[in-house]
């Protein structure tokens, strides 16, 4: 039954890719189409309000500048709200202002679509902060990511100098994609028992006569955009394993599809922009192959259970249930874990710290590769970067200038791509080493031995990949962890986004090279194989040693 339910979810996803991918293409192709009729009435007043008179196309630099400035302003306003939440409205539980380094970490975390949380929602945020900072940034950061990915797609698939107008894209992403979808999904979740209320926490007397406090709040509105925008920050401390955030297997499936479908549809959108749907499907199939491989590893490891508990003589047929919910069991937990780290969402419906060592390799590896579906756009951008690298390597092997989508790949692009490829492991491994060497870093470790290395490694991998899930045992609300992970998230998001936009900007200025018999084709199975190998080889060369020190060593001690 476990494999059947996983297969059904994957099948539904496959059915969603084409309609959603087509819809995104229609929204962003900037030519008259049906979606104008549905939404322009709502967009016109917004364009007027923000003073966007002409929607002139921008160069990649103008686009990058616009999204960075917008994010800086949002960060500043959000930071103020967190620091002043005590005196602002909608604070029935009397939550105090947030401390400064925690506020820094939190605001960077949400603006970069990471949603790493060093606070607990029930006790750390007022209802107003949950709405005006957390929920708001879940929209704006997702929209930012989607816009940049669309700009990158335009750059690699068209000629000229402009990649589109950031503000126009930003408004469209909200009005035509995220807000209507989030509202509908929120209402569906409420119907399936996710709370949505502004009343303070409830207090009841239990059956055995003791007092029980029950935290509630406007959960559903946050829950829907948390997944649609691949944000992942929970309303409650334990995220989607909380029965209020994720009451049933059905809500679990809905949340999985919400975080997965837009990211999975983007390769198809890319195919439409590139006027080669086959090219889109090739990218998609490489992603899906990697996904199924890592899913199988996690599912098998968790089904086999924790060897250390299995030998105690009880009935171990359920698999590893520590840190998991009965309603989800192994199949729904395993699928959620794989999707949330592939799609860089970072919500969890089971505790990743309690995963079996081999099962824990799945979320770690997917975040290290950071290109399997990915969040709003970033995964596709990284995969296209690997594609460019793949044609470069293939070109070197046969001794001719590499081309991708009719453009020559030359030194400038390869230098920028080398930066992006090196930055990711650098901002994971360097701080991991720093944390393991310093007392301030070691103080966070709560599970001794090899697992302690995994805890530290996971935290920085999650920050760098802008995922936000954690080996949550880590005691991370300290000056050291707040500042270091804050910086890693910042670099992880903006360096790759800006560098890849620069690659796009540089490609779009080049002459088209006519396709000939000698052109290396990028839309066939051979290329899919090369791409898969490039992703795996680069990932393994970079991260295998540290995986051996952490999860693999732990596995050998308890097997």
């Amino acid at each position: 039954m476990g494999i059947i339910q996983i297969a059904i979810v994957i099948l539904v996803l496959l059915l969603l890719v084409k309609p959603l991918g087509t819809y995104l293409y229609q929204v962003f192709r900037n030519e008259d189409n049906r979606t104008d009729k549905w939404f322009s009435w709502a967009e016109k007043p917004i364009f007027a309000l923000i003073g966007l008179k002409d929607r002139k196309g921008m160069t990649w630099k103008g686009y990058a500048l616009s999204f960075v400035i917008t994010n800086i302003i949002l960060v500043a306003s959000g930071y103020l709200i967190l620091r002043l939440q005590k005196v602002l409205p909608f604070n029935p539980n009397g939550i105090d202002n947030m401390e400064s380094t925690l506020s820094f970490n939190t605001i960077i975390s949400f603006m970069t679509n990471t949603n790493l949380q060093h606070y607990s929602g029930e006790s750390g945020l007022s209802y107003f902060a949950q709405m005006a900072v957390i929920t708001m940034m879940m929209f704006t950061s997702a929209a930012t990511g989607l816009c940049v990915a669309i700009a990158f797609i335009r750059a690699v698939t068209s000629k000229g100098t402009t990649v589109g107008n950031f503000f126009e894209d930003f408004v469209k992403a909200h009005i035509r994609v995220f807000i209507p979808a989030a509202f509908i999904i929120a209402m569906v979740l409420v119907a399936l028992q996710v709370p949505q209320t502004l009343k303070p926490a409830l207090s009841v007397t239990t059956m055995e006569g003791s007092e029980q406090q029950i935290a509630v709040g406007p959960v559903a509105a946050l829950e829907s955009i948390k997944h649609l925008g691949t944000n992942g920050g929970g309303y409650m401390g334990v995220n989607s394993s909380h029965p209020f955030e994720n009451p049933s297997p059905l809500t679990n499936v809905i949340e999985i599809l919400c975080m997965w479908s837009l990211g999975a549809a983007l390769p198809y959108t890319f195919g439409l922009f590139a006027k080669s749907r086959k090219q889109g499907w090739i990218i998609f199939s490489v992603m899906m192959t990697l996904f199924i491989g890592f899913l199988s590893l996690n599912y098998a490891a968790e089904s086999n259970g924790n060897p250390a508990l299995n030998r105690l003589g009880i009935d171990a047929s359920q698999g590893s249930m520590e840190g998991k919910e009965v309603r989800f069991g192994i199949a729904q937990s395993s699928l959620f874990t794989t999707v949330t780290t592939a799609a860089t969402t970072g919500s969890v419906n089971n505790m990743h710290d309690t995963l079996t060592p081999l099962g824990g390799i799945t979320p770690l590896s997917l975040m290290m590769l950071n290109s399997v579906f990915g969040g709003k756009g970033v995964g596709l951008m990284n995969m296209l970067m690997y594609a460019i690298l793949a044609v470069f390597l293939a070109g070197l092997m046969v001794g001719r200038t590499p081309e991708f989508l009719g453009r020559k790949i030359e030194a400038r692009e390869m230098k920028l791509i080398a930066i992006v490829i090196l930055v990711h492991p650098f901002i994971i491994l360097a701080p991991t080493a720093l944390a393991l060497m310093t007392d301030a870093g070691q103080a966070g470790i709560t599970n001794a031995g090899f697992h302690g290395i995994s805890q530290v490694l996971y935290e920085y991998t999650s920050s760098a990949a802008n995922n936000g899930s954690g080996f949550e045992g880590l005691a991370d609300n300290t000056l050291f962890w707040n500042i270091t992970t804050g910086l890693v998230m910042l670099f992880g998001r903006y360096i790759s986004m800006i560098a890849l936009l620069a690659v796009g900007g540089s490609l779009m200025r080049k002459q088209w090279v006519p396709e000939t018999l000698g052109t290396f084709r990028t839309d066939n199975k051979l290329f899919a194989g090369i791409l898969l190998a490039v992703v795996l080889i680069i990932g393994a060369l970079t991260f295998l040693p540290v995986l051996v020190l952490g999860p693999i060593a732990e596995h050998l001690t308890i097997r």
């Binding site: 039954m1 339910q5 059904i8 917004i46 966007l52 196309g57 160069t59 103008g62 400035i69 917008t70 306003s77 006790s123 929209f139 068209s158 000229g160 100098t161 402009t162 807000i179 989030a182 709370p195 949505q196 209320t197 009841v204 007397t205 059956m207 055995e208 029980q212 406090q213 029950i214 935290a215 509630v216 559903a220 509105a221 955009i225 409650m236 909380h242 029965p243 209020f244 297997p249 499936v253 250390a308 508990l309 105690l312 009880i314 009935d315 047929s317 359920q318 590893s320 520590e322 840190g323 998991k324 919910e325 009965v326 309603r327 069991g329 710290d353 309690t354 995994s454 045992g473 001690t557």
Partner: protein, 209 residues
């Protein structure tokens, strides 16, 4: 984008600066618009609609006992220590839903292994009629949320001999009760079969009185 009248790619520094100046004004206004739209209007409208259309679900799915008193939420587990009742899963926070969480024990953590051994010893003492080999994993492990309202049907079944002995309700009747409160997989395929411990115990208490 395929518009032939486009600015040249070699834009002067002056033009770039102008571009930036315009951007700040628009960025500021766009930020304000979306803070209000996404951060205030969207959640408030959603709250209004949810409260109007589905007040019970939106309010946290509270349940009442036979006398009409609110005893909890059907989604949130409760701590049961009385051996006459069905017990839920291990919870390091003792089902205090003001927060949520667990110890996040690594699979190799010796504290977790000791805790599980202690649970098994306690089981042997309180349930001498049921061999340990029938004790399912979910009953001796901590859920992720610490608030798991469910146990597996097997975990409910093996508690029947103990409860029957203490309450003098025949085992067959208790088996019937557990069966009635067993929820199947969602849509027949998703998730796992499960028993809501709070609902089951409410029904059990009704049977006792």
């Amino acid at each position: 984008m395929n518009n032939p009248v486009q600015t040249s790619s070699t834009s002067t520094p002056h033009a770039e600066a102008g571009n930036a100046r315009v951007s700040v004004g628009i960025a500021l206004r766009a930020s304000l618009v979306f803070i209000v739209l996404c951060g205030v209007l969207y959640p408030l409208v959603t709250t209004g609609a949810a409260q109007l259309l589905m007040p019970k679900q939106a309010g946290g799915s509270l349940i009442t006992d036979e006398s009409g008193k609110v005893v909890g939420s059907e989604l949130i587990g409760q701590n049961f220590t009385d051996p006459q009742f069905f017990h839920g899963r291990v919870s390091s926070i003792e089902y205090n839903a003001a927060g949520s969480g667990s110890n996040n024990y690594a699979p190799s953590n010796p504290e977790m292994i000791d805790r599980t051994k202690a649970s098994i010893e306690a089981w042997k003492e309180n349930n001498p009629d049921v061999p340990v080999s029938e004790l399912p994993m979910d009953l001796v492990t901590n859920s992720g949320s610490g608030l798991d309202p469910h146990i597996s049907p097997q975990a409910a079944d093996i508690q029947i001999p103990r409860i029957s002995k203490l309450t003098e309700i025949p085992e067959a009747e208790l088996q019937q009760l557990v069966k009635k409160h067993t929820e199947g997989r969602d849509l027949g395929v998703f998730g796992e079969p499960r028993v809501n411990v709070l609902k089951l115990n409410l029904a059990l208490r009704e049977l006792l009185s």
